[in-house]
Symmetry: C2
Subunit: 125 residues, 2 copies
Amino acid sequence: MTSLDWNPYARNCPTRELLNRIGDRWTVLIIGTLNDGPRRFNEIARAVEGISQKMLTQTLRALERDGLVTRTIYAQIPPKVEYALTDLGVSLREPLKELELWATTHMEQVLAARLRADQAPEQEQ
Amino acid sequence: MTSLDWNPYARNCPTRELLNRIGDRWTVLIIGTLNDGPRRFNEIARAVEGISQKMLTQTLRALERDGLVTRTIYAQIPPKVEYALTDLGVSLREPLKELELWATTHMEQVLAARLRADQAPEQEQ
DNA sequence: CAGTATCCCCAGCGATACTG
DNA sequence: CAGTATCGCTGGGGATACTG
């Protein structure tokens, strides 16, 4: 017990790296749209409300780089590019689904707690 | 099918709100340290490597506001303040654990894919 | 010990314009 | 259609100093 044991909250632990990877505004959402099969660039853009072209490109490139998504170019005019989850990407969907499930079943409680906290008179005893 | 159906990737969907909530640099890590029971402020600070005092306070306040964490002050000198997960917070641990499990079992593949992508000669045909 | 209060920087992101 | 390039802002967050 010299506390040299692995600290899961240390810098560079896998969890932290994953968080760096998916903890941005768009990654999880984009992965979600690819759940039901390959999608074209603009299909994803339409599905993920509010995303800019720049961020969609950037995030897709990062996902491709990390082996979570494939990019397939069809040589035709106008261009057609399809994005699809790799097996690795599909495997990541599982925990993400759990998270979405939690969100749909519990976020209301979170929001309610937030309202209560905001309305509570400043308790200065 | 007027596409007024609920779009899970739209603004203000629960998933998106959860992502806003936990998709920052510290929240998930802090919740993780509270997994095994209540912790004092500086205990958390030590466990979560690299966090600043400001961000720890700020994140804990947000967690408390959202009903995920309780804050208990013991009237003594020097001060002792303990943070603990609420039932709601504990329930969130479940999906987060799945995520951590994925991280420990798959992040190596992600990192390997990244290296491969970076070393690959620019394929310009 | 457990915080507040300030200052300040930079990277994440949006907006816009252009292209094969 | 599916991008690239550039500009510019803003707010997330670090560093530091101070306090009950």
